[in-house]
Symmetry: C2
């Protein structure tokens, strides 16, 4: 059988692992693909590292991938500029594309899919979200009978590692981050991961696929986890919740709710138990109900597993040519969300303060589900104060912002109020 | 576009729901399939119920599905005899087949796949295991780059419902079973589910697919949950475990370990938290590592979701024609398993008994990881006795059988010893 000829752009951890996987699992890949999947060319701007590329030629010029002996270009360069060029050139030359580049797809996915559609070539992007979890495949095929109503998940392993270390080892954010950096789970500049940008890109890709829609990435509401205090994690646990950094997207009649933020997840919900660098994606279909997919969200081997899965589909002829999205949906961000809220209110330790707090909430018709306030929590400072922890019942986002602002104006409240939303998930 | 014409055999809960789903989600199914998926014929030996079959003709003679306006026969009759005939006839006439019938596949899968291969038709069986979880699709495509080393899971919702009710509500087995029957989660004769036969069939189907092998269903080791005592669940919890009814299959150099039995699952392992009628399947790939898939394991809508997913693949032309398995693997059952064991030993409440028990284990070079023995556990009867609960370290199956036999022979041991294996899972 004619092999599928693969040109690989980029030879970092994932690129090197794709080469290794194609070699090590060649026999079973050929059996599943129905024909061999052969690496014919590798191009990387950095010199060839000491890894076995088999029969493949190596070039430091990415244009080498334009040669006639390449059927598909696997883009593993990362970044947006050069990667976009490589992908556009490949599509222009009638080559299929497989990419792990979530930033590229979140920013330029619509354009890439459109040109691929015009050229009649396929674009595989299983590796761009949730690492080795075959969630793109599940949404595209396994759940094809369903209208997907909601997607929610832990799609950034770095921030989940940090939150897990805070919860399980009692570390503060800075220490947990330093540990993650030492172990290679976080970059030197961790902004992209801990501030939720990476998660928002992945959420946008998943939501577009799940809802068959073009979604404006800039409209995704994004909050990071750098403001989460170890105290919040302890109080949340006491109330029966874990704090997770979630991406949530939901279809509404007037658009797509799409948001990334820390959230309290009830202990009874499986996604709250997903720990360390593992990822998890919940997809709710109108026929199947809730389904959950868990696995390693990053790393060379899991990501290579997803890249090669796309290559197998391509070799079989089952990786689809992208179709224009059925609709363009406005992004509603977090505005329409109605959920319970966790509040940590720093208050002067004097009689009457709690009554004032309760009075504000009562004016907004928000009831209090749970309270934690302890005399022993008094801390040193200019004035003695205690944190009042409140779990409210469901309140719309706008109402929550308003009561937090009003609470901040109380004379007995001594500083910034922390508010964390409670996630309303069922799987 | 030419529609895919569907002939439906059987109009019970799942059949009726497939008809409804094809109608309700017709537009998105057509979009994902690339062409309409149209129900043209329905045949059921019972008279037509009051559900809307749209344009489809109805017949009480299953032979009506042999008409020229059918491209695929969906077999939802259940049982083995008539179902096998319907499937064989369809394949013989060059029709594709989609089935939810795990009993049929476990007993006759090899023959069905072989004849389908000869006729060049596809066989879809996503619905035959783990209900709405797209696990067949994940194994066939999403994890196609991986050698699958192990499969483990909760694949019977009835027994998981019963074990969850015992753990969470403190019910004994009989009461939990009666509840499950009242709620429609268990049959009047629950043997098939609670004794593990249904789970073993599903495990055999998953293992054959995952390991690309023909596996002898009769070689699967099967134990049910009817012997699990509420006390075992309480002690297990005290030791940091849940008791789950698991199917586990692992590749070895000399065959396939395949077994269904109750097992202690550590609290840190996600599969131990899967509760109620939910199913969960863990697949361990040599590239991706552990991945977990969770969702509703039964019910009309989830099963119909899986049936229609196969129809969408068929309409796209991406549902494969079965290939002969690469190899025939002997079933090793449980013989080669080496794992920790939970023991409940009913013992006379006298000095020296524990020393005798410890001495037996010591002779087999088995260490004791944990012990629970309480004076207040004394119970009424001919003689006062206490349960001695022991968690051993890893011991091979043959050794475990031998020490249980020796322990049973001690003069201080007053009755049957319960032994439950500890599962060694990592996701």
């Amino acid at each position: 059988m004619t092999p599928l000829r693969v040109g690989l752009a980029g030879l970092g951890t994932v690129g090197g692992t794709v080469a290794k996987l194609l070699r090590d699992n060649a026999r079973l890949i050929e059996r599943r693909a129905g024909r061999p999947v052969a690496l014919t060319r590798v191009a990387s701007r950095t010199p060839k590292p000491g890894i076995d590329l088999g029969q493949a030629t190596f070039d430091t010029d990415l244009r080498a991938l334009g040669a006639d002996d390449v059927d598909v270009v696997v883009e593993l360069i990362g970044g947006e500029t050069v990667a976009k060029e490589v992908v556009a050139t490949a599509i222009g030359a009638g080559r299929h594309v497989v990419t792990a580049n979530k930033a590229l797809l979140a920013a330029h996915g619509e354009e890439i899919f459109l040109t691929a559609n015009r050229s009649g070539v396929s674009v595989g992007f299983e590796a761009s979200v949730a690492g080795g979890i075959p969630i793109v495949n599940a949404l595209r095929t396994g759940l094809a009978a369903n209208r997907i109503d909601a997607i929610a998940g832990i799609v950034n392993g770095t921030s989940n590692y940090i939150l897990t270390a805070m919860e399980e080892e009692g570390l503060d954010f800075a220490t947990a981050l330093a540990d993650a950096q030492r172990l290679g789970y976080a970059e030197a500049d961790p902004t992209f991961d801990v501030e939720g940008i990476d998660a928002a890109q992945k959420l946008a890709i998943l939501a577009a696929l799940a809802f068959d829609a073009t979604i404006d990435f800039d409209g995704v509401h994004v909050e990071g986890i750098s403001g989460i205090d170890i105290e919040d994690i302890r109080y949340a646990r006491e109330l029966g919740f874990s704090i997770k950094h979630l991406g949530i997207a939901r279809m509404h009649a007037d658009g797509v709710e799409a948001r990334v933020h820390p959230a309290l997840v009830p202990e009874s919900v499986l996604i709250g138990k997903v720990s360390g660098v593992m990822n998890a994606v919940m997809a709710h279909g109108n026929a199947v109900g809730p389904t959950l997919y868990v696995g390693p969200g990053a790393g060379g081997m899991p990501t290579a597993s997803a890249v090669v899965a796309d290559l197998v589909e391509l070799a079989r002829g089952t990786l689809p040519v992208p179709q224009p999205a059925e609709r363009r949906l406005p992004s509603l961000g977090v505005e329409g969300v109605e959920c319970p809220h966790y509040l940590k209110i720093p208050a002067i330790d004097q009689p009457g303060v709690f009554a004032e707090v309760a009075d504000v909430l009562s004016r907004y018709k928000v009831s209090i589900e749970a309270v934690i306030q302890r005399p022993q929590a008094i801390r040193t400072g200019a004035e003695p104060w205690v944190p009042i922890i409140i779990l409210t019942n469901e309140a719309p986002e706008a109402v929550a912002r308003a009561f937090v602002s009003d609470l901040g104006g109380l004379s007995g409240v001594t500083g910034e109020i922390a508010r964390i939303r409670v996630a309303d998930l069922s799987a």
